[in-house]
Symmetry: C4
Subunit: 348 residues, 4 copies
């Protein structure tokens, strides 16, 4: 079967992954409304394509926090890549480097930060942090990441507790015994993630800033009020995210929330978005609405499930080709020409 | 099969209840549009969750008419609990007391008020009243309830006649001979409920007030005009309800009507809502829109059908856990932090 | 099978009528969008029911053009009743008289006006007219109707040509040889209805007024502009109709057009509506939006197909009971209490 | 099977064409959202039909760029007609001439311009141009077309690159070896259409004007901004088109874009529309919203697939009959009476 679009990878992963792993990656909270809305919301946005603009040369490169990437799509932090492919996050790191884009490694990786770093030296990577009750453990993780050359610290803000994902409850989801959350294995067992600290507040941003020189990106912001607070607390970037619909069900689709956040931020920090990206034209829409870059979660896992590093590169390459094509068909020769004039919200 | 969410109980009840009983509980009037809209309307409300607020300690207790309950979900009045479980309303009363919440016992109970009271002494209970043509019978019921320690009187306002529930007509629905509407058995036969008085008006509130010291809660209000009348006639509470969609089909979903009623009432009396609550996040939405507490009807019956008192406790516990989790994920540490800023109506 | 609601009669008719007859009655123009919209549009209207109003006595009688009918539902003009039941329009006339309501007999009846009249002497009947190229034939029909005691003349305005009903084209629809359009058999063959006059204009109202003392009701008006013209040309009533969706597809649903027409007419003439009435609550909605009475088309044919006169009475009785019940549940004791405050348009 | 409406031809073509050909004609870009929206958007437009206007004589003729056609429906440029019928574009040309309407022959014809011309001498034809990197080739084509009596030059503006049509990728779509893009066979192979020039801009309109005296019509405009540019660059006509949804997916439906373009153009040039026309009433809607004429793409191919020239005439005749009928049922006796007052956008 030819792999033509991201849905082909999804179908492959659904067919070949063990049910418990597929269910874990696919899971949304409660009725999965927000998970599905993330995708549907993109379909309600219409392009206003412009014609007869010279698009013979197209430049899809962009920069995030000053570093150039080959196109505005990075890898969102997701856990447990070994569930998708034996080499786990090492493959992810290699694919991201090969495609010259950014990979946000999760606290819940099944490889250590050191393994990830040495798998793809020189790649652009950020580290995603969950703050644990044991603050020393978190501090140690941040400092390891910085020492290893990770270039950004992504604080996940939307998981004081884990959302209710019915299939995981039914399946009694748990990592298989031969996999470990290696960065934390001395600290906790994955099936008891109550060690996450639900007491964290905006003041903990200051604590993080005291630990590291890395730029801090906050992930999970969905409202103008929180966007304003993020800017005021000195973060360098915001990822508009609802955790792939896995936390509070029936919050806004991220592409809808992006509009509100971008408006509030008024260019003071970079804004990114994840959730629901399935086509190159989705990337174009997100950029038109003010995102500097998007991050993909589940599609990266489908790519891994298909063929590891190579499969993830396939996924990224398809998105890249589709993004370039839709940018050109909309009349833009470079990322800098993308703007809000390119889109309108459908009334339906 | 694991009972993970309320739909699991619904599926169980549909599978194991006799068809005539399932149909009776499930029935909506006419095309069942309003019954289904009660649920769909919740899905059109989106959260605006706030991040990084200390939710390490969450307090989900609330008070209704001055009495504390463990969380803002009570048991709505529904008839004929013996159709769901042999012990009928006695089990309901025990489960409500065990979960420390309020149970509104129906005039159409298959246990007497005395049986209900002695099954769970000390539980918080209100009594739901239908006014019959024989006013003396109604007066006697009210006074029995007050004497037994019921703490509120709920007057159902939306049943001057019974709605047209097609399946009940087709099934020729009737209580099995060994069940009785025990509170009224001297007064009427259930299949001839034309003894209800369709002439009652707002002035009958004054008559009720003359009979009892209990606070009066009026159930079935859907418009600002009637909410204003209710306040002016001195009720203590309003339950926004469309009788589970069993009376006038194609009226508003209760969560939509709640907004209008809360606005009209301006805090002068407590407002509650029933209909369509299927998840803890629905409770959060109702509270965000101004309800003091919600009441569940069919889900309580599914719980009874599953395992009587224990099954109903399971249902309540799931709702409680889900409510606590969604409250925390929305950034609220206690019920008092829930407000309208948490929600917005989807344009779809 | 119990006949509980109008859909039961529809299912019966679909099952037992010859396909060619069912298809003819069911047909809509082109994609049948308007036929189906007539029904769907009712579902977008929500009641605002009022509580605790004395509805112990309900009065559902109304008057149309000064004549009392038992409830605000009459029989719309439809052709070829012998396709549904051997006695054809004679049964229709008897059922309408038995239920004390108005029957609009069609030019395309399979019984003569004389047969209709003598089948149910004293019944309230209007005569529906198509104007033919042979004006003398039309004049003769009008004058026969007046002489036979018909009390209104309904001019159909929306059929200069017959709409394109695909199934009828496929079926090669034609009356069976033993049936005749008896009122016109000397004038034309049914399968060649091109004898209708597509040149008629508003001035032909004056011509009709010169022929008869009967009040003239115009059927097929869908816009405020035409409503204004109708009033100015001195008609006594307007039936908002799209011919059951059988003429121009993708015009407005009649209940939506009713609002615009009622607003334009400002009470100067009576306004009625047909199309999409399937429940008593639909009647209540139409009256709330300003209709004086509604007329049913296909449901009357289903009743005939079920059991002739008796089946049509069943249909009318169900509508009557449902109308009375929904009126009471909405808080109205009589037709005069029904008003626009009872409804709102859903935003969905 | 009777061919009653255009869907019948679609069903026939789907059944009898080779899959690869059907897929090619049916293809839309990416998720095919825009392809399908083109049709759905028509269904959201409602007529406001007017009654009692003399429609005994109807005149459906119109003029495009000064030349009379029998009714406002022409043949849009589509490629590779031999995939549908052995005689290919020669049949198309004959059918268009027989029906006295305009045929826009595609650069990607499988017959030469000379063959097309001599197949139907005297027919009204425009030539659709893709500009190739080899400008001399394009110049030669334009001048051949002008010399052969083509009366308009249609520049396609929306194909700097070919859209991503998943089925074509999966099928490895390619013309069968015995077919050729005859007008260009010396210049390129069809499966490598990268010879199209993605650098063209508005200034190339001036270049085209320098090559030919033919009026220039620009095809693929979807925004007011580009409509304004088109007028300023001196084109004689605009075809509002999204290439049948085959280029940038999730742009506007053409009938929606038409409104914006017509408003911007303010009558300075003629505006046409293609995409989604399936019924005569769609033509009426497009004209009501300001189109001078519509063009059909896929339905013409279905007609060819059915019976070549004769099948295409059938398709055109059905559209003609339906257009005439819906025009009359809406109360218009001629094309000049069609205006915006006839339609409104449904809120749904």
């Amino acid at each position: 079967m030819a792999m033509v679009c991201l849905s082909d990878f999804e179908a492959y992963a659904k067919k070949y992954l063990p049910k418990i792993a597929w269910d874990y990656f696919a899971a949304g909270a409660d009725d999965c409304t927000t998970r599905d809305e993330n995708i549907l919301a993109y379909k309600r946005i219409r392009f206003r394509p412009r014609m007869l603009r010279d698009v013979s040369v197209t430049d899809i490169r962009t920069k995030i926090l000053g570093t150039e990437i080959s196109f505005p799509v990075g890898i969102a932090p997701t856990g447990f890549h070994q569930l998708a492919w034996p080499d786990g996050e090492k493959s992810t790191a290699r694919a991201a480097r090969a495609m010259n884009t950014c990979y946000i490694a999760s606290t819940y990786s099944t490889c250590t930060l050191e393994e990830i770093s040495s798998a793809a030296p020189g790649g652009l990577r950020w580290f995603q942090l969950y703050i644990h009750r044991n603050r020393a453990a978190s501090q140690q993780l941040v400092q390891r990441a910085e020492a290893l050359g990770f270039q950004g610290l992504v604080l996940t803000a939307d998981l004081p507790y884990t959302g209710k994902r019915r299939d995981d409850v039914r399946n009694g989801f748990c990592l298989p015994p031969h996999m470990k959350v290696k960065n934390l294995e001395w600290a906790f067992e994955v099936c008891k993630i109550s060690l996450l600290d639900p007491s964290i507040t905006w003041n903990d941003i200051y604590w993080l800033q005291s630990l590291t020189h890395l730029p801090i990106i906050i992930k999970g912001i969905l409202t103008r009020e929180d966007a304003e607070l993020a800017v005021r607390h000195g973060v360098q970037g915001i990822i508009v995210s609802n955790h792939g619909g896995r936390q509070l069900d029936e919050g806004p689709a991220t592409i809808d929330a992006l509009v509100e956040v971008v408006e509030a931020v008024r260019g003071r920090v970079e804004v990114y978005v994840d959730g629901g990206i399935r086509k190159g034209s989705d990337v174009l829409k997100a950029l038109a609405l003010g995102a500097k870059c998007v991050f993909i979660g589940r599609p990266a896992l489908w790519g891994l499930a298909y063929k590891g590093e190579e499969g993830l590169q396939d996924v990224l390459r398809i998105l890249q080709d589709e993004f370039r094509l839709s940018m050109a068909l909309a009349g833009c020769a470079s990322v800098s020409e993308i703007g809000q004039h390119l889109v309108q919200f459908s009334k339906l």
